[in-house]
Symmetry: C2
């Protein structure tokens, strides 16, 4: 077992080996990594079986499902890498260029981060996605997955490392931390000078631990208390379609809606139809409606408790509140949201403009489901997570968001 | 005395009052703030006298000089605000636009941070620069200056607040923290949910405290161990001019050079001339040359101790080392630098390309002095500091770097 410290030292050493490597070479490596996943599918499946056997009975069936690999899922992981490979390189782009009166030519050029550490949980595909995204961005990755998925992650990483070596790049450009205790997560959070960017990808507890403890630069991803506000001018059919989709198409993900705010003037018309749609007529998985006083008076439901509007349910549950204006809706959202995704359903240009300019979240929708906040849906390719912070990157974190920039200044002897 | 907590609550409340305020209105406020500094110059000078009297005998003369205001310096502060006013607004810019196959129109639009907190030390002009930069970027500022300059900062802030009110904007868009103990700095660092961006502007100790303790997003600014590497192909006359400028034109600032690395093949020619230039022929402030073994053998000097190449001298001192290649120079820089500014003096295109692509610092120069790393010199206007981190902004932090972005997505009922 290699110590986390040793892994970090190796990662830092490998940064210089990736500098100046052409995008062609990186793509060659990515393809070799994808091929290795397929070639070594048997070993990966065997390791995954081990993980699943160990986990059965200890974690929820939905978690077992997240953990389990199949030949199809491995194909999907390889396909994910190939798609990243097809993206244009985010490196070496001249983002700005100025020629100063003194003759200095100042260019702002995109550049690799260096070492990117990712702390994640049990989904094995994160291992290959994260490594491939980091490599395409010119960075070395240090992966620290959950202990339930360790054997799978190890087999996947080993395959990818062989892929890297087969094209002459250092295997240490992708490393897996073998210590899966909390200790190694803390070590990564405090690896100042070794980790250029830390991405926690997981539940609220992990994100909170990183915010509290990290001394390395950190990108918060994840938690989404997403809102849909139905304005009084809304097309109610559209509103019903969007709410149902945002809530029920995949309730366990961060871009699913958790709260619906309805304008008072439209509540008596909309809410009974919403109840019919989400509760009465749904054969499977009826939605529990958690209603504030006014909404309760109209359609009943579960009376909202203190935390009803501050909970990421990730379940077939929707909090419903009544507001008197778009201003009140925005005020509520800016107070209770996690700054992930919010949507207004409206036909009023003024309400729309107010909502989009005033809501402080990273993705603000007009007449569409919040479920689109996703790298693929945004056309950015696969992503490392959804950033809910304001520093650096917001929304889907793709390969561009995994780079930094530097200024390169050319002179001919200028002094100041 | 208003508590820091109360100041943060007010700041957060004021964020919404600045939303949607036009750039014209913001400029009107900035001009009123600049005018107020001039109108209230007597009060500001009287407050500053108080600070200076209290400080005399307790802090170094150079710090007293930093602290002292004159009518001219106040004019300079007002001029700084007017220059910020003349910059184009960084807000509401569509940075990217995609139309997706499903008809969603996705725009990435620049947006205000919200609340920007700045912890700084004794220079009174930082108070007005920081407030004006934040306001131009659409953000509320919470200023926490050093205790030596409190009376000055208070008078300056009061004037600016009156300026804001005179055009109908809330005075609380600019607030000064009245508690100048370490307690208030810690409170700002941990004001999660209140501070969207924290900028420590000061010495290495302050920056370290922020990195260690901050749970709010933080932009590290400042410390610069800047290097000049003289390649074997260098024009030695140019090298001497640049080294002298980078070291001696203003040694107390972060973009001054602290280390000079010289290629072995050119050392016997260059170093004696460098000694002549920086030591023997300088009537005032001769530079102390701190030399590694090889450099010492050629020109003597102070033998380099263990930390010689890891010290930000901010003084007439220059560490000199000999290297065998541009690769060795880059390796040294990437190990010892604070990622601020580095320069190569060369006539060799290959060495230049290797240096600019491999050096990991935020500003990498070819044949120019490191002293140009500065918002004004980069054409970005006045700045909040020089970022030495990779996340978000690198190099000069101007109004653009003080903004974030959000995605605004327009649909017509799209669901997923």
């Amino acid at each position: 077992m290699t110590s986390t410290k040793e892994i970090l030292i190796r990662a830092k050493k490998t940064v210089s080996a990736l500098r100046g490597v052409s995008d062609e070479k990186i793509n060659e490596a990515l393809l070799a990594m994808a091929d290795a996943l397929i070639t070594e599918a048997d070993e990966i499946l065997a390791a995954n079986d081990e993980d699943v056997r160990r986990a059965e009975g200890h974690i929820a069936p939905v978690m077992i499902d997240r953990l389990r690999l199949t030949r199809d899922r491995i194909e999907g992981m390889a396909k994910g890498i190939r798609e990243i490979c097809a993206l244009p390189s985010p490196l070496g782009k001249v983002q700005k260029r100025t020629e100063r009166p003194n003759g200095l030519i100042i260019e702002r050029v995109s550049a690799p981060m260096g070492v990117i550490a990712i702390i994640y949980e049990s989904r094995p595909n994160v291992t290959s996605d994260a490594a491939a995204l980091a490599l395409k961005s010119g960075s070395v990755s240090v992966l620290r997955g959950g202990k339930e998925a360790y054997a799978s992650a190890k087999a996947i990483t080993d395959a990818m490392r062989r892929g890297l070596e087969s094209v002459g790049l250092p295997a240490d450009a992708v490393q897996l931390v073998s210590d899966t205790t909390r200790e190694s997560a803390n070590e990564l959070m405090r690896a100042k000078g070794y980790v250029d960017l830390l991405i926690p990808r997981g539940g609220a507890g992990l994100i909170r631990a990183c915010v509290e403890n990290a001394t390395v630069p950190c990108l918060q991803t994840g938690t989404g208390i997403c809102h849909i506000y139905v304005d009084k001018s809304a097309d109610t059919d559209m509103a019903l379609d969007i709410i149902e989709n945002a809530k029920t198409s995949r309730p366990s993900v961060c871009n699913a809606a958790e709260v619906c705010l309805v304008h008072r003037d439209i509540a008596r018309e909309l809410l009974p139809r919403l109840k019919e749609r989400l509760v009465d007529k749904r054969a499977e998985n009826p939605v529990e409606l958690i209603t504030d006083k006014e909404a309760f008076a109209i359609i009943g439901g579960t009376p909202a408790g203190e935390d009803a509007f501050d909970t990421e349910y990730l379940d077939y549950k929707l909090a419903i509140g009544i507001v008197g204006s778009v201003e009140e809706a925005v005020e509520h959202i800016n107070t209770h949201s996690t700054m992930h995704s919010e949507s207004i359903i409206t036909r009023d240009a003024e309400a729309e403009a107010y909502f989009t300019s005033s809501v402080d979240s990273s993705s603000v929708y007009v007449n569409a489901s919040t479920r689109f906040t996703d790298g693929g849906e945004f056309g950015l390719g696969c992503e490392m997570g959804i950033s809910t912070q304001k520093l650096h990157a917001r929304g889907p974190v793709g390969i561009e968001e995994l780079t930094t920039y530097k200024y390169i200044i050319h002179g001919n002897g200028q002094v100041r």
